[in-house]
Every structure is written in C-alpha cells, then in structure tokens.
C-alpha cells in the first residue's frame, strides 16, 4: 500500500517547524534546516547587494554585484553534490597498508585487503576530482551571475525580486555545471569513481564469502548457482508448454534454451 502523502507531509513539516509539535520535534529540525539556512543566507546577501547597488554610481553597483557573486560562491562551496554521498559503496575505508608484502597463510586475505585499499584510494581521488569540478562550476557561475547583475539595473528588494534572483543564480550554476559535466574529464572522473567502487565492493564481497565458508554459512555465490539452475528449469518448462500450444508454430520464438549466464567482467580501467 502506498503511504499517505499528506501524512508524510505532516511528518516532514513537523521536522522543520519549530514548536509545531508538542513532542519536541525541534531536535530533528536539521533535516530541512539546510534549505531554510540557504534561503536566509541568500536573502542576506541579496539585501546587502540591493543596499549597495541602489542609486549608486556604476562602479559601486558593479562592486556590490561582485560581492554578491562572491557570497554565493562561498555559500555554495560546501554543497554536497550527489556523487559524494558514498553512493553504493558505504562502509569505512580499509585499514591495510597498501604496499606491505603479502606473506604467509593469510597471503590471499592480505592481497585482497591491499586491492581494497588501492580501490579506496582511487575512489577518494575520483571524488576529489569531481568535487573540484563542482567547485569550479560554482566559481564560474558566481562570475557569470555578478556580471549579469552589473549589466542590469537593480530592482526593488521585493520577495518576488529575491526569488527571481535566486532562480537566476541556479540557472547560472546549472549552466556552468552542465558545461563541465558534458566534458570528457568529468565523464572520466565519474567513471573512475564508479569503477573503483565496483572493484572495492567486489573485494569486500569476496572477503565476506571467505569468512562465510569458514563458518559453513551459505554464500551469495552458492545461492546464485541455485537460482540459475531453477531459472533454467523454469525456461525449459515454459518452452515445453509453448511447444504444446497449437498456435506456437506461427509465433516467433526465442532461442530454445538459455540458462542464465554470468557475463565475464571487463577489467576496470585504472
């Protein structure tokens, strides 16, 4: 059953409406607070701009616009873009030193840990590159935004004007981001991030399977094998049923039997 959106909304609004709930939900105000804070900071910066630019000579208005742009750049410099939310990897970084020689009975485990450490290093490096693209986009957007303000006379500081300015700022930020995101360096950084994450997860899974076998617990690989066998039987059964239908001859059929196959993995590019 789908949850009631109105009930969700009540829960949602109660989280960021101080004093709305007698049970003290103000402690959870943080979930929506970033957006309220963002609005407040944007308003403060916009008002400073209006104060500095209204009826001022061109150089002063330009300086106010520049200052507004700088404030926005600062305000958005810590923005957590989606790829830096540990998408799909989770967990803590490995504790193994990457370059120590793997010796003795636990050699395989050591090698696995080293590969995980190396993958983690690549994840962090790719994240840094991606965050740099984000920061560069914000800087470029701030410059474009300030230049646009300097070229146009300031409006009266109404709520509508503030909202419009905010929309203009977001347009600048998205345009700058899109220019970066379509570029090859960004695409490569994102691919490095995902590919290194896949490598890290694969090694983690192998380590968990190794431990599971020691404890005689069923592993994912074993369950997968059983699933594939079951699917093969289902396909065979369905094919037999299809063959027994009188109109079967007139209908194009898929290949007769096709047990699910694992696709050989390509090695991720370093």
């Amino acid at each position: 059953m789908q949850p009631d959106p109105w009930a969700q909304w009540l829960a949602f609004s109660a989280r960021f409406t101080p004093g709305a709930s007698p049970s003290g939900t103000a402690q959870n105000a943080s979930s929506f607070a970033p957006f309220a804070d963002l609005s407040e900071h944007f308003n403060a910066a916009a008002r400073a701009y209006f104060d500095g630019a209204a009826n001022a000579p061109a150089p002063a208005a330009a300086a106010a616009a520049q200052s507004f742009g700088d404030s926005l750049r600062e305000l958005f410099s810590d923005i957590q873009l989606p790829w830096n939310l540990s998408a799909g990897i989770g967990g803590a970084p490995p504790m193994f030193a990457p370059n120590s020689p793997a010796l003795g009975a636990s050699r395989e485990s050591q090698l696995r840990a080293q590969r995980m450490a190396e993958a983690w290093r690549r994840i962090e490096e790719a994240q840094r590159r991606l965050q740099r693209f984000g920061a560069d986009a914000v800087r470029e957007a701030a410059a474009t935004f300030a230049a646009g303000l300097a070229a146009a006379p300031p409006q009266a500081p109404s709520a509508e004007a503030l909202h419009k300015l905010y929309g203009t700022w977001i347009d600048c930020a998205e345009d700058a981001y899109a220019r970066a995101a379509h570029g090859e360096p960004f695409c490569n950084a994102l691919a490095d991030y995902v590919n290194a994450s896949s490598e890290w997860r694969k090694e983690l899974q192998a380590g968990i399977e190794h431990s599971a076998k020691l404890l005689d617990l069923p592993t994912r690989s074993e369950i997968n094998t059983l699933t594939q066998r079951l699917m093969a039987v289902e396909h065979e059964l369905r094919a037999l049923r299809e063959q027994s239908r009188p109109e079967a001859a007139a209908t194009p059929q898929r290949a007769p039997q096709r047990a699910p196959q694992r696709v050989p993995r390509k090695k991720a590019k370093p």
């Binding site: 909304w9 994912r220 699917m231 898929r254």
Partner: protein, 335 residues
C-alpha cells in the same frame, strides 16, 4: 521568504489528512511480481481496441495516475479508452538473472496474450513510456502482428544524441563490474539522476517550496511527486546490464544491430502506425534521442508531437492533462 513558509507549514501541520485520488482498477493477471491492471471505464467508449501502457522498469507506474487532476490514465479514460497497465513490481535478489528477453517474452508477451485472448482480438494498441517505450519498440518489432498502433512517449531511441548526459556518463562505466551478479540499487540510480541537475534537484526545488507557501493541495502534490521520485525499485541486474550496454553504450537499436535472444530487432519491420510524443524540455531523454525514431521505423504512418514540457511534466503538468490524452485519443480514433 522563510518566515512566511514557517507559518504556512505550522498551519498545514494542524490540518487533517486527505485521501489520494486514483482511478479504479482491477488486477486481471499476475505472474510473479508482475501485475496487469485494467482500469474501470468512466466514459463512453471511443476506441474499441484496448490500450496497454508499458511503463519503465525504473520508477513506479503510479505516476501515470498520481491523483485525479494529475493523471494521464484518467485523461485517457475520460477520452473513452479501454486502458490496461503493467506494474513490473519491485525486483529482489531472486530476480537478479532476469533478462530483457524475460521481460519481453515472458512478462510483456504474457500480458499482451492475456488481453488479446480476453477480448478476442488479434492486436492491441500499445503506449510505451520512457524505457517502457524502448521495450514496446522491441516487442512491436519482434511481434508486429500483435500491435495495431504504437505510441511512444518520452522514449529514447538514439542513445548517442549530443545532449544525452546520462549516455555520456554511462559509456565510460564498466557496467558488468558495477552490476556484478546482483541487482542495481534504485537509490544509487537516484543519486545518478540527481547528479544530472544537482542545483535544481537538490536545492532549488526545496527553496521554491518554502517560497511558494503551499496550501494543503499544493503540499500534497509536492509530496506525491517527491514520494514517486524516490520510490525507485532496484533493477534486475541482468536486464539492467543488457539495457545499459546494448542501448546506452553501444546504441544498437538506432544502429540496427540489436538482437534479443537470437532474434534481430529491426525497427524497419515496424509498419504499424506510430505516434511519438516528445517533451521539448526533457533533460532525461533529450528530444533528439526520441526524434530519431522517424528515420528508423518502416511505418509510413508516423506522427511526432512535441510538447513544451519536461520529462515528468509530460505526465503530471496541467498542460499535459489538457493536451496529451486528447492527442492520443484523437490519433487512435483516426486509425
């Protein structure tokens, strides 16, 4: 801006919940997690052939019938169409080896066969939405005798069009390694979708919400869409891997190189009437990715309609409610 919103939200918090408006329907077939629904008619029939809606595997199909005044399905019912919808369900670990061929030959073909048998017909009308449009094109090319008219909506065909950011990102990723032997998390896919326009989708829409000072109806609208956006099923690993590699990375459909389970999917064999509905401001499926269909299908009866809407706006915007169902019904009625 925020003071107004705080007071509005405090007032909203004191209100009582309301019921969601969805069209009445009946489940007429179930196979595993996949369900086929038939919607109860609400107007005099205008087209005798039933319309099967094939939604995408990513995201849930209730976006087509979100609430009474934001429902493509309700619009189609108002136009007198007999509407069916496939709900693919939420794949879990047992579905990790389910392939595109399974979706096409077992699930989609099973639903089509059920409708044709129940209504004593040889062919039906099909409406494929987004990725569901790709599945519809493949099915129609493989089994053209079962399709009377085909409608594609915000459907990518050329996956290498210049504005397709998702495709540019996907082409460099080792998909086989990413999927492994498991499913693909819907949450991770959501992060990817948010990354396409991060400032708008993770910042502006919430600030705009505060600024809009929504009433109860506005708040409910927002929350329904928000719920839908993040109600993302995990993707069956094998089908996802095939879809990304064959379509996003290798662009096989547009290059006439696609084979599914040993059968060639040649869009030139598709000679039934085709209606292609496109969102001019679609950031997920750029218009050029959909418009390419014209040069690929064998049909002489091809119509493309472009709407000044985004991807989601094609289903739920006020303009879509007025324009899209009427356009579909008019086109079908003429055939």
């Amino acid at each position: 801006m925020t003071n107004n919103s705080f007071s509005a939200l405090a007032a909203l918090a004191a209100a009582t919940p309301g019921a969601a408006g969805c069209s009445e329907r009946e489940m007429v077939r179930q196979s595993g997690k996949v369900k086929l629904y038939r919607y109860r008619p609400i107007a005099r029939p205008s087209v005798s052939t039933p319309l099967l809606i094939v939604y995408a595997l990513v995201n849930r199909p209730y976006m087509m019938d979100l609430q009474e005044d934001r429902s493509l399905i309700r619009g189609l019912l108002n136009e007198g169409l007999d509407v069916y919808l496939i709900d693919w369900g939420y794949p879990d670990g047992a579905d990790r080896f389910t392939t595109l061929a399974d979706y096409l030959d077992d699930h989609l073909a099973g639903c089509v066969a059920h409708i044709l048998e129940a209504q004593h017909l040889d062919a039906l009308n099909m409406l494929g939405v987004c990725q569901g449009g790709v599945l519809s094109l493949c099915f129609s090319a493989l089994q053209p005798q079962r399709i009377k008219n085909l409608i594609t909506m915000v459907t990518p065909v050329d996956f290498h069009s210049p504005a397709d950011l998702l495709s540019k990102w996907a082409r460099r990723i080792d998909i086989a390694a990413w999927v492994g032997d498991g499913n693909v998390s819907g949450d991770v896919l959501n992060q990817l979708f948010l990354s396409l326009m991060p400032f708008r989708l993770t910042q502006q829409k919430y600030v705009d919400l505060l600024a809009a000072n929504p009433d109860r109806a506005g708040a409910e609208n927002f929350m329904r869409v928000e719920q839908w956006i993040f109600d993302s099923p995990d993707q069956a690993g094998a089908a996802f891997r095939e879809f990304v590699i064959w379509f996003y990375q290798e662009n096989r459909l547009a290059q006439n190189r696609l084979e599914i389970s040993g059968r060639k999917v040649d869009l030139r064999t598709l000679r039934v009437p085709v209606l292609n509905l496109i969102g001019k401001r679609d950031h997920l499926v750029p218009p050029a990715a959909s418009l390419a269909l014209k040069g690929l299908v064998g049909s002489r009866d091809y119509t493309a309609l472009e709407f000044d809407l985004g991807h989601i706006g094609m289903y739920i915007s006020a303009r879509a409610q007025h324009e899209v169902p009427a356009s579909i019904a008019k086109w079908l009625a003429a055939r």
